[in-house]
Symmetry: C2
Subunit: 365 residues, 2 copies
């Protein structure tokens, strides 16, 4: 089921749409139908088929054929019963999410978009979607593979970039620790930190991941957290690999790994909360208990800052301007984990919480 594609290995497929006689389409949709209490899986989704009429393609709209679906931890946050950055994801609707697709039909002469264009949309888990043309971002498949718009040049990269640079303020020779380091965000953070001249420690959940971090991404030290399963063990390991303490901790994971970090931070450390994936499967509604640590913030005059990718939407161009050349000249490398088959979308989401992905997790139809 899992196929890892590194950098440029992925061949762009151009669809041929000469379907001018088409009046309606069968459209499969994954409906989010039941709130998970712990892990999310197939049982929380219902697969349906609906008819999509081309007569619904009113002016200003485009018909998109979905090709790549973004699978992200935030989806599980939205499934929490509690309000987070917005209301919980409504039940009995198509699972939301970012999609890369091609325009099949378009009814908007004023738009720069045309049939066959690759676009990024937020139309969720369905094979086709009719959506407003002004909600679409056009992609250039000749420049970089279109799937990069979901990962290394998309939402995860945006928060990696602005989170590290603006909340983290990395300085040369500082020690940066990244949890979830081989994930969609982490793989970007570790490399930008290296570009900024930092000493970088990547924490991940398998030897395959730590090897990728060290050999491909060039991080200085790695920790397979499964070998250090308590606060004390993690703290001791961190002390060894960070002999000068930790200046920046970019946290995608939370839980005991983060508890251990508070034992080794330096004065004026910056802790960036980008994700807390260890807490998402239940811990948001019924929080786990952990040791109170805020007194340590006082000793170290440290800062914890929560960051959210959407806060930087309006600065996307700024990020792309710096990151795209890095991706093109391979100063920044990346992995994608591609799961094939529309029918595997719920399974793919579940994979995130078992750490089965390396880099960005994508479902390809």
């Amino acid at each position: 089921m899992q196929k890892v594609l590194l950098n440029w290995l992925y061949k762009i497929k151009q669809l041929d749409y000469n379907q001018t006689n088409m009046t309606e389409l069968k459209n499969k949709q994954w409906i989010y139908s039941k709130r998970p209490e712990k892990l999310v899986d197939d049982s929380h989704y219902t697969l349906i088929e609906k008819t999509l009429k081309l007569s619904d393609l009113k002016p200003g709209l485009a018909l998109i054929k979905s090709e790549y679906f973004s699978i992200d931890p935030y989806m599980r946050i939205q499934q929490s019963g509690k309000e987070t950055w917005e209301e919980p994801h409504p039940l009995n609707t198509v699972q939301g999410g970012a999609v890369i697709g091609q325009i099949v039909e378009i009814n908007d002469p004023e738009s720069d978009l045309k049939k066959g264009d690759w676009v990024l949309s937020y139309t969720g888990w369905q094979e086709f979607a009719i959506t407003e043309t002004n909600s679409l971002r056009k992609l250039n498949p000749k420049e970089v593979p279109v799937s990069t718009a979901l990962g290394i040049l998309g939402m995860p990269a945006r928060i990696a970039y602005f989170g590290l640079i603006e909340a983290g303020k990395p300085k040369k020779d500082e020690t940066v620790v990244v949890s979830g380091a081989s994930g969609a965000v982490g793989q970007v953070v570790v490399q930008i930190a290296k570009i900024k001249g930092c000493r970088v420690i990547g924490i991940a959940g398998s030897d395959e991941k730590t090897t990728f971090l060290k050999d491909t991404l060039g991080v200085d030290e790695t920790i397979n957290y499964k070998k250090y399963p308590s606060i004390r063990q993690m703290k001791n390991k961190l002390s060894k690999v960070c002999p000068e303490g930790v200046d920046i901790y970019f946290d995608n994971v939370g839980g005991y790994i983060t508890d251990a970090i508070f034992e080794v931070i330096n004065v004026h450390a910056r802790i960036i909360i980008c994700g807390q994936i260890s807490q998402y499967s239940g811990g948001l509604d019924n929080p786990e208990l952990g040791p109170r640590f805020l007194h340590k913030m006082l000793y170290k005059r440290a800062t914890i800052q929560g960051v959210l990718s959407r806060d930087y939407n309006y600065r996307m161009d700024e990020m792309l301007k710096e990151m795209t050349p890095w991706v093109k000249d391979k100063s920044i490398k990346y992995k994608e984990t591609i799961v094939e088959g529309f029918e595997n979308l719920p399974k793919a989401l579940n994979m995130l919480f078992y750490g089965e992905n390396m880099g960005k997790l994508i479902v390809k139809v």
Copy 2:
């Protein structure tokens, strides 16, 4: 034992030192002799008497007679077995701390100081001390009562001022919640927040304290936390008195009150960790457990920042320049709790952890 002196009520006493024939003094000292595991009290101190020879008054030194001792929560932090912002307080030495006293003798013709001057020193719990003249800050008893140099114009005010203004960045009409609001730091924070045009909610541990906060200091709403002894109860009360959420939380207390705050913070809230007094009596060495809350930092893109008064030592003049007129014209009011008697020093420290003080806690010989 306890005597509360408001504002200008305190009469300055000028000592008369015509003790030119003095060659030695009996000097009582409180020796910190045993690490507390929970609360600190008399049993962790030993009272001794030493002879202090005036022949030890080498060039560059002054002999100080202690008059007012500062009693501060940080003393208990230093008694923790763990390293905090510095090494633990060494056993079998005089308990450290800030003192206001008068110069009895001075051996430094180049110093601006002279016999009879009031000075701030860090000579700890002893009746007399010989110390370097360049470690002393001269006080002007004609301007404000000298005891203010320990509280409303001293270390607690410094962190209240810089912590609120620089870490908190209060904006007009924002909601500011302060825990430990009637303490030495809190009483300053609530008033500066009012001066900055904020809506201010003070949390304290008795009706006497909340009355002081409302009637004397002019805070908008108060919470006697003892009436809301769980996270849920505190959260519900906070929701009622902060209908527009919390923008700034200035935390002197920690524990479940702070947990409840994370339920009601607004986007881009600033949480300032100035103290965690609920955790000091044991919780530093063996942390209490509390619900993991870092995921909420993410939803609210909030910031937690630890602040420490000594980081702003070098900006003391800047603070005094703004605060002294406020204290003189009573735009800022304050309380001091004065415990009389050198013999009561350990008891007074213990009082802090039972919340028996209002405003700055001071021991007067």
